[in-house]
Structure formats: C-alpha cells, structure tokens
C-alpha cells in the first residue's frame, strides 16, 4: 500500500506573520516550517506503515524552493520519499487551483490513501482535503480523531458538536486527521541522518498536464482588495487581587459592559 501525505510549508506562527505587497503571504518575513497540523498526518501514516507490511509513505508538497524543508522534516520523521511540485507559475494560487494541482499530483503518484492535516496553520481554510477528493471523485473521511486501515477500508472517528461519528470509506480515499489523532514524533538522530539519502523528486506543472495560466495569483477566483495589520491593542487595566480588589474590579467591568 502506498500512502501519500500532503504537507504544507508555512510561516512560523510564533513569528511575525504578514502579507507582501501583492497581498500574498509574506514568506520572507519569518522562517517557515512544516505546518504543525501536517505533522499529525505524517505521524498517522508512519503508524499505519509500522503496523502493516509493505506500506510505503511518500510525502508531497506544493510550494516554492523553501518548501523543501517541509519534505525534509517529514523524511526525518520517517517517510521514505518526497515529491516537490515546484513551478514559478504556482505562486499566489488560491485553494481551488491548489487543489487542482494536488489532485493531478495524486493521479500521477497513484497512492491508495491520501492523508492530510485538518487545515494549514497559515490559511487555515480546512477545505483542501475535500476539494482534492471532489476532483478525484474519491471518498473523503475528514477530521479523524482516530484512524485505522484494514482490508482496503479506512475508518475514522469524527467528533462533531453533537455526536461522535464512525466513518468508513473504501480505498482509494482522502483522509484528514486532527491534532487529537496522536502526538507527532520528533525526528531521531538516525532519522535525520538517513533522510539525507532519501529520494525527492521535483515535478513541474507540465509534468502534471496543468496549464500554467490556469493557476497562480492572476488566475485566482477571489481577489484581495487590501490587507491591514490590526492596530496594536491599547493596554488594558491590570489589577492585583490583593484584598479581593481583583474580583471587585471584574464585577465592575461586567456591570459596565452590561454583562450582568
């Protein structure tokens, strides 16, 4: 069985994130890394591989040169090979174009199972897994808090506000997992050393049969008018709770705001 994990290289959420002049995400201002939420998908793929025979874990990213770091991290964690879809024309693609590129890459890679994180930590739309499934015509079992694969069927538990659902899908399928699925491992020293020898292929849009004019910023179906940093918040009042002054101040605040 072949598992293809779709991962994204994102600006570090603890850094200063912002937008470039063309309103795309500024990827220079702060260091990038493998999206934390994708680490859970890599982890689940590795667990399936450890529990089964002949399971291959390949990791795929779409992104600029630096996105190779996201592949590297997944290889260090234990994935066996990487694919980097790299093409200047991709810059500025919206979720629709990204899902089209990913779906074409999935067709070329021919996995039995596509695994994704629940969302990226930058765009945070959480729609790409179902969009890829929609384009492939594959079932999507998304937001799995647990994941099992047996006899050509993938089973997840999906927790909603009102119920806990058990969802099954026949392979091939697209699955996304949440941070509830299990702590992602840190690369071991052995993993870090062996990652350097693992194969990483680079694919361009032409390898996927995608017209460069159909993706990228100019082809995006939604247009950003402006991006504005939130003005720094004025420092609020801070009260020390000596002698119950904190509780009193809090109650006064609630009353002033008509919350009570």
């Amino acid at each position: 069985m072949k598992i293809l994990v779709l991962v994204k290289h994102v600006p570090d959420a603890t850094g200063e994130r912002g937008f470039a002049a063309d309103h795309t995400v500024d990827r220079e201002a702060t260091d990038g890394l493998l999206s934390e939420l994708d680490e859970y998908a890599v982890e689940q793929a590795l667990r399936v591989a450890e529990d089964g025979d002949g399971v291959e874990v390949v990791v795929l990213t779409v992104g600029p040169d630096d996105a190779a770091d996201a592949i590297k991290r997944a290889l260090q964690m234990g994935a066996s090979a990487g694919i980097h879809v790299l093409d200047e024309a991709i810059a500025g693609s919206d979720a629709l174009a990204t899902s089209e590129i990913l779906a074409a890459a999935v067709r070329k890679a021919e996995p039995d199972l596509v695994l994704c994180g629940m969302a990226s930590t930058d765009g945070a739309m959480g729609v790409v897994p179902v969009m890829v499934a929609e384009r492939l015509g594959w079932p999507a079992a998304t937001l799995g808090a647990t994941l099992e694969v047996a006899d050509g069927v993938v089973t997840i538990r999906r927790d909603t506000d009102t119920a806990s659902l058990t969802v099954e899908a026949n392979l091939p399928a697209v699955v996304s997992v949440t941070d509830q699925s299990g702590e992602a491992r840190y690369p071991s020293m052995k993993g870090i050393l062996s990652a350097k020898k693992k194969p990483v292929e680079t694919w361009e849009l032409s390898d996927l049969g995608i017209d460069a004019g159909s993706v990228g910023l100019d082809a995006a179906w939604s247009t950003v008018a402006d991006t504005t940093p939130r003005p720094p918040k004025e420092a609020g009042k801070v009260v020390s709770d000596a002698d119950g002054a904190g509780a009193t101040a809090l109650v006064e605040f609630l009353a002033a705001g008509k919350f009570i």
Partner: protein, 314 residues
C-alpha cells in the same frame, strides 16, 4: 432582487443562531432562500421571521447516511437551478467542507471564515490569529462564502416563507464516506461555544479543577471553553477547546482563567469584543490582549465574582 442561497443549520430540530445571522447578512445582497437538509416545514416560520422568502427542503436518506458529499451535491443542483447572487454557509467544520466541494462543482470562487459581508458581496476576514484584516471578493462564478458565527446580530424581517421540496439526485460518487455509527454526546445545558455571547475558559492554571470556571459560566449564562493545555491534560473534552485546532470564538466577552495566552490560543479568541484575563503570572502574554487583567489565583477570584454576580441578580 436576486436570490441569495443560505444553508440552514439545524440543531435538535431548531434553527441555529448562526443561520439567523446568515439570513440577516444575506438581506444586504438580495432575497434569502434557505436550504434545509431534511423537511423544512417545521422551521420555515423561524426562517421566514428572519427574512427567508423561500424554504427549500432537500430530502434524501443519503444526506444523513454519508459524510458531507451528498449535501454538497444537492446544494450544487439547487444553485444551478436558482442562479443566486451568492451562497452563504456557516463556518462550521461541515459548512466549510460543503463550501469547498460546492466551489469545485460550480467552478466558483470561495471565501471562508468571513467576519463581515457587504452589499456588493465583498467580505472581511480576520487572519493570522486575528492580527490582520483582509478584504476580498469573489470574481468568478457564484460566490461561495462561509461566515463565522457572531459576524452580525440577527435581526428579524418577517416574511411568509414559501416551503417547497427541491428535487435532488444523489449520485453513487457522493456515497463514499459511510457514517456507520453515530453516538450522541450528552448536552452540557450551556450555550453553544461558538454562538455564546460570553465564554469563560480555563487553562493550565485550573490545575484540572474546572468547578470555579463552570460556576462563573453558569452565573453569567456563558459557555465554557478550555485551552489546549487543559484539553491535552485530559481535564476538559476537546469539543470545548478554543484555539487554532479547536473552536474559534468571537463573543462579546471572553474571560480567560489560568490561560497564559500562547499564539495557538489567541488564534481562537483574539477577535472577542472584550477580553478579561485572570492569571497568577503577571507576565502572561494574555494580559497584553486583556481589557481588564486580574493578577491573582483564579480559584479565589472566580468564586468571589460568581458570588457577587449572583447577589446582583438577586
């Protein structure tokens, strides 16, 4: 006036508050047409009260038996039939997935997590943990927009909603992800976290004891939330987690008790209208966001506040 398709969300057979918000926003653009997955007759009066001129029931067993895809397929057929000016869906996990599939099916642009919507269909979004505001619009196809709860206060605009059944056909291709079991969760009796006007959240500082947090929440009629640290420690269920990998909330008042305010948490609450923090550590980053900060032990402060709130309410 052109139609605006609004996907109605129901909980226990009732129309959810975010749905009423969508209807309120939809009226800025056109004439709201509500789509109900299931029989819409019983909820039509409520939908009409908030301006829905028509209620379309999409009825098919597959809508309940399979995950998301059948709803997107039914909706795509309704949209193709009505050619609305826009499609508005609540930014819930399922709502966003319906929207994503719908945008692909329609060949239409998609905007998720809007916090406001103008008459011309342009949107406002709050991104990067609430640190940036983005204004955008869809320039291709029928705009598909998901809107966060609490984007607007629901305003009634009574009309008589005409109820009819929409003819939908669910293909085998949409029947791929089978829901084989559904175990209902017990209700907390508190307001829904993403819809509540007030949220009281507890974090590491609770030490695992949420009694004071829950008591204050109940006194205020608030929802209870939890930080990732509290959820990861097994102190509170994941369904109540506020933050990047949990719920995003934007209440009138957010009260963070024993929460330091890591970026992952701020991403889920930074757009709250008013923020109050109670924390022992005067250096906690949450204080930088707070309109009022109380440096003290939440196990002392919260019960004292609860008592005074109850006393004022008589």
């Amino acid at each position: 006036m052109s139609d605006v398709v609004v996907v109605a969300e129901l909980a226990d057979g009732h129309v959810t508050k975010p749905t009423l918000e969508l209807l309120t926003l939809a009226r800025r653009i056109g004439s709201p047409v509500a789509v109900v997955f299931g029989d819409g007759a019983s909820v039509a009066p409520t939908l009409g009260e908030y301006g829905a001129t028509a209620v379309l029931s999409a009825v098919d067993p597959a809508l309940e038996e399979y995950l998301v895809a059948p709803k997107a397929e039914a909706l795509a057929q309704i949209v193709a039939e009505r050619s609305p000016a826009a499609v508005l869906i609540t930014s819930s996990a399922e709502g966003k997935e319906i929207a994503g599939r719908l945008a692909v099916k329609l060949g239409a642009g998609l905007i998720t997590d809007a916090t406001d919507l103008a008459a011309d269909g342009s949107t406002t979004q709050s991104v990067f943990a609430g640190n940036w505001t983005v204004r955008a619009s869809v320039g291709h196809g029928v705009p598909v927009v998901t809107v966060k709860p609490n984007a607007v206060a629901p305003e009634p605009a009574p009309t008589a909603a005409a109820v009819s059944e929409a003819v939908v056909t669910i293909s085998e291709a949409s029947k791929g992800a089978r829901i084989v079991k559904s175990e209902p969760k017990s209700a907390s009796g508190r307001p829904e976290l993403t819809e509540a006007a007030i949220v009281v959240s507890g974090g590491r500082g609770t030490g695992g004891d949420f009694a004071a947090v829950e008591a204050l929440a109940d006194a205020l009629g608030a929802a209870v939330g939890a930080s990732r640290a509290a959820v990861d420690s097994g102190w509170y269920p994941h369904a109540y987690q506020v933050g990047q990998t949990g719920k995003t909330v934007s209440p009138q008042l957010y009260l963070a008790a024993g929460i330091s305010g890591a970026i992952q948490h701020r991403a889920g609450m930074q757009t709250s209208k008013a923020i109050v923090a109670v924390n022992k550590d005067s250096e906690a980053p949450i204080f930088a966001l707070a309109d009022l900060g109380v440096v003290g032990d939440l196990q002392t402060v919260l019960p004292a506040v609860t008592e005074q709130v109850k006393a004022r309410k008589g």
